[in-house]
Subunit: 253 residues, 2 copies
């Protein structure tokens, strides 16, 4: 048996958002490695070994996956969303770079998926319809000063901003600080979307101006998108539409 | 018949990257509206009317789709990639906002897809594995001064940068100007990825330092990704891996 490793994105939750490429790789895999809740999304079958692991052990998990592949197993590393956006792909390559030389000969693929910001944006309308940035608000792996600097520069660039990991039990105060920086940089009227558990039965969307945003509106399952200065709402029967027009006027610079 | 409109992302080209949600919507649609090459990706069948249109007529196309849905048709607006990222979703909402009031009562959905930057990043490794931004380099809908300002601020923020529409026949000089700004702001050693026609038979990837990048390395089918200061290459047998580690050191701010 020739081993391989496929770092695959399972999308935001709904099976209808899993690509056929990922479904095929799951059908061919002998092992699935990943954070417990993501591995739990894979249907068990004969010949498939599931290896759920805890959160925050990404490098150990990546090394285990690489080692299994080196033994000839066909290993799928399960990420939610897209594996290349604040997920397992970078962790696998960090482990690869620091690992034994023979790992570099492995067949390694990254299989893209629907990342949370695109699913959330689609549900709300098109808030990322113009230039935007994506920032991981967790300060586990970078200092808060870097996050704050990036928020201020993104506001100055007038990017829409998508925030991953806005809030966790381990860092309850970080998101409140981020909201304060954003209010100062973008003003109280700037629109912000809280999109929780998009594409699952618990999905809930809320759009408010920054002046009314509270840290408690986000939890670990919430994707947050702050609009640019051009982002607007279309009111209509039912849920409003949040979108960013494609154009910037000539006098905007 | 109750009409609806689904603005759907067909992904970068490979059918294995089309979500089941989009495949289902295509099966239920009576009409497909879109730019000719994207409509050409939809298999004809009895009862399905294809409406291919030219490039750069997004608002007219959007208005036609909304009007068909208002007549009770089930209309799929075909985008490549993800419809919310420099594609048709924002155009549909612009047309909706300026159109007749009864359009606001329509059943409108946006169906996400694998956008080009995620497909390109996956093929190369994980260059978007840390904070990043996405910028449309076309100056059709915004002044060049805004693009240049955003490039400089993104470099200062040390974002990886994904560029859509880097180069077209109508704007041959814009991308060369962007490369000059990036060399000045990021230095000649910064890594840049040219990913052409990802997931199609014409796929071709090339990674060079900015100092060796030339505007001719991109065309209309090329996705360009410039790494952050932390983006690196892992050499190995076959294609190298381009990735951005998840962490920023404590002294980086």
């Amino acid at each position: 048996m020739t081993g391989w490793i496929a770092v695959a994105g399972l999308g935001p939750g709904d099976e209808a958002l899993v690509t056929p490429e990922v479904t095929q790789a799951l059908a061919e895999a002998t092992d699935v490695v990943g954070y417990g809740p993501y591995v739990a999304r894979v249907a068990p079958r004969d010949g498939l070994v599931l290896h759920p692991s805890d959160n925050r052990v990404e490098l150990e998990r990546a090394a285990m996956a690489l080692d299994l592949a080196a033994q000839g197993r066909r290993v799928l590393v399960a990420s939610s969303g897209d594996p290349g956006v604040f997920a397992m792909a970078a962790a696998v390559f960090e482990a690869l770079e620091d690992g034994p030389a023979h790992w570099r000969e492995l067949d390694i693929r990254v299989l893209p998926g629907i990342t949370a910001m695109l699913a959330a944006a689609a549900r709300a309308g098109a808030p990322l319809g113009h230039d935007f940035c994506a920032i991981n608000l967790s300060d586990n792996l970078k200092p808060w000063s870097v996050i704050e600097k990036r928020l201020r520069l993104a506001a100055e660039a007038d990017f829409a901003m998508a925030f991953y990991n806005p809030r966790s039990r381990a860092r309850p105060e970080g998101f409140a600080k981020a909201l304060a920086v954003l209010r100062e940089a973008c003003g109280d009227d700037r629109l912000i979307l809280f999109a929780r558990a998009v594409s699952t039965p618990e999905e809930a969307l809320r759009i408010v101006p920054l002046g009314e945003a509270r840290a408690e509106m986000a939890d670990m399952r919430t994707m947050v998108i702050v609009g640019s200065s051009r982002t607007r709402i279309i009111e209509r029967p039912g849920a409003p539409i949040l979108y960013t027009p494609r154009s910037v006027p000539e006098d905007a610079s």
